[in-house]
């Protein structure tokens, strides 16, 4: 009986060792469903740096996956702009209430633009006031070549992401409560 236990212990140890080696050797690839699909599309690109954050904390109760796509060079950024239909202010028509200089200056100001895209086709924009489980929330940070794609599954998650945006901006400015409220109304 003692002999058998020795053999069993050795087998268990070998299995554990094998599991450890497998865990180290096997690449960690996200599932090709959902946001993982977008990550997999750009993961091997030379011009685009793709990162997937599992369970980014939005607030105390909500965590969601985020994909960051960053154009490493102009080719990568051009590809991202084309595929996600992103236009800088310079590339858009200047509205009447702005002067042209003020309008293109927005590109270099710290800020971000929000839009929603269809899960199946990132080129297709969705009205941001009608969030649905079939689309993602996307932020483009101005002055950088980065876009952030949030895996929002319903209206509540959509609202939470937008609330975090406005809340984080005004967190350090307690006197700007009125502006914060206005900002939230505009967002929603």
């Amino acid at each position: 009986m003692k002999k058998y236990w020795n053999v069993i212990s050795i087998v268990v140890c070998l299995l554990l060792l094998g599991a450890a080696v497998l865990m180290r050797v096997c690449p960690r690839k996200p599932s090709p469903d959902g946001l993982g699909r977008i990550y997999c599309l750009y993961a091997d690109s030379k011009h685009i740096d793709a990162s997937l954050i599992k369970g980014y904390r939005i607030n105390d109760t909500l965590k969601m996956d985020v994909v960051i796509l960053e154009g490493i060079d102009t080719t990568g950024w051009a590809q991202l702009k084309k595929e996600f239909d992103i236009k800088t202010h310079k590339e858009q028509e200047c509205p009447k209430e702005f002067t042209y200089e003020d309008w293109i200056a927005l590109d270099t100001m710290p800020g971000c633009t929000f839009f929603r895209i269809k899960r199946k086709d990132p080129m297709l924009r969705v009205p941001p006031n009608k969030p649905s489980p079939d689309d993602y929330a996307v932020f483009w940070q101005h002055g950088t070549s980065m876009i952030f794609i949030f895996d929002t599954k319903d209206g509540d998650e959509h609202t939470a992401v937008l609330y975090k945006t406005s809340n984080e901006v005004f967190k350090d400015c307690p006197n700007d409560e009125e502006e914060k409220d206005n900002n939230q109304i505009n967002l929603l």
Partner: protein, 176 residues
Amino acid sequence: MNNKQTRPTVDEMFAAYERQREAVEEMSMQIESRGGLRLRRFTRRRRRMVTNIVLSVVSLAAFGGCVVGLAAFGGDGIDRLSFVLAAVVSAVCFVACTVLAISQRRISPLPVEEVYRRAQRQETIDTVVHRLSVTGVAMALFLLVMPVYGAKSYFGQHDRTSEVEKVDCMFKTRMI
């Protein structure tokens, strides 16, 4: 005449004495061996009880480690799975070791013969559960160490912290 016939001879008496002496010796040997077995078994039970208490404490610590680990590094799928598995294994081991330790603390009020009769069966069950517990605790510790090691190298390789900082930074910019 009859009295002469029924009266045992010296040889017969000596033979009867020898038989009695052998029977007594055999009985005393039996008692000694059973007593020794019981003593050995009792010592083994005590040793196992101590081992089970130690295992119980280790598995409880492992369970605590799993909870802390889950809170600290449990964000990624494979690590979370490992932590949850380690927590389940260590919790089962904790219960098994505690129950074994408590059951081994009790000294059986049964007579020697009954203890002797039941010994084989109970001994086998105890041994199997004990050895499974030892393997379980080892496995829980292994599962606990792996994700911590894995998470460390994961953060090192992919610099996940800086990616999170990028998102945090984006949230701090105004929406235009």
